[in-house]
């Protein structure tokens, strides 16, 4: 079960080399995203697309808000 984070905890984890993954569609990502984020839309999450992620580092996923 993943751990929910608030903004302060996100900033703390980013300082510890965490990866950011935005799971919105590509257009939403292109419009605005957190600096340094990788975009993998939810529908495209799979063995191929996650190869660009480093499993040894913490991974923070986000979308727009509480949707």
């Amino acid at each position: 079960m993943s751990t929910p984070l608030d903004r302060t905890e996100v900033e703390r984890l980013l300082a510890q080399d965490a990866q950011l993954v935005e799971v919105l569609h590509a257009e939403g990502y292109a419009d605005e995203h957190l600096p340094g984020t990788i975009n993998i839309p939810l529908k495209e999450l799979g063995e191929e697309t996650v190869r660009q992620l480093d499993p040894s580092r913490p991974m923070i996923v986000y979308c727009y808000d509480y949707q």
Partner: protein, 174 residues
């Protein structure tokens, strides 16, 4: 959506998965940096040095402070920076004996720092043309509940102009 994505990543073998449930709306509304084609956001264009004052201050001192600034308005905030009111030009001319609380307009409109500049310009275009609104910026994440805190201010029409100049400069740079 992000809880499902986090669950999917775990199913793919990732063990250090965290879910930023409030997402980029929360990040941007706190005035933290964003990147992307929607740049610039109002928070980048607004002026953070807007004068502020407290409810119980005598108006005379506030007026002098505003005169010394580049603004003709003052945002009234509480001890936590939460926006309570605004002193416009007319209010600033009130009797010296008046307090800020007596002279201010309560509950002014605010916008979040992550409002896109072009959206801010559209909002201002809908305001009364002869009295364009000035908006303090607020920080107002949806959860946990928190009142809007003043982070800056500006006239949205001015922000829209600055956005236009920004876009023209981008086009010139190719």
């Amino acid at each position: 959506m992000s809880p499902r994505a986090a669950a999917r990543l775990e199913s793919l073998g990732f063990t250090k998965v965290y879910d930023y449930v409030a997402g980029k709306a929360d990040w941007g509304s706190a005035g933290l940096p964003l990147e992307g084609a929607a740049a610039p956001w109002v928070g980048e264009l607004a002026r953070s040095e807007v004068p502020t004052c407290r409810l119980d201050e005598p108006l005379r001192g506030v007026r002098e402070r505003v005169r010394a600034s580049a603004f003709d308005t003052c945002i009234v905030v509480n001890e936590h920076g939460v926006v309570l009111g605004r002193l416009g030009r007319h209010a600033l001319r009130a009797d010296d004996g008046a307090t800020v609380e007596e002279a201010m307009t309560a509950g002014p409109g605010t916008v979040r720092p992550n409002l896109r500049g072009r959206d801010g310009g559209e909002a201002d275009a809908r305001a009364k043309p002869d009295r364009p609104a000035r908006y303090p910026l607020r920080r107002h994440p949806r959860r946990p509940p928190a009142p809007g805190r003043c982070r800056g201010g500006g006239r949205l029409r001015v922000l829209a102009d600055r956005l236009s100049h920004y876009r023209e400069a981008q086009l010139r740079e190719g």
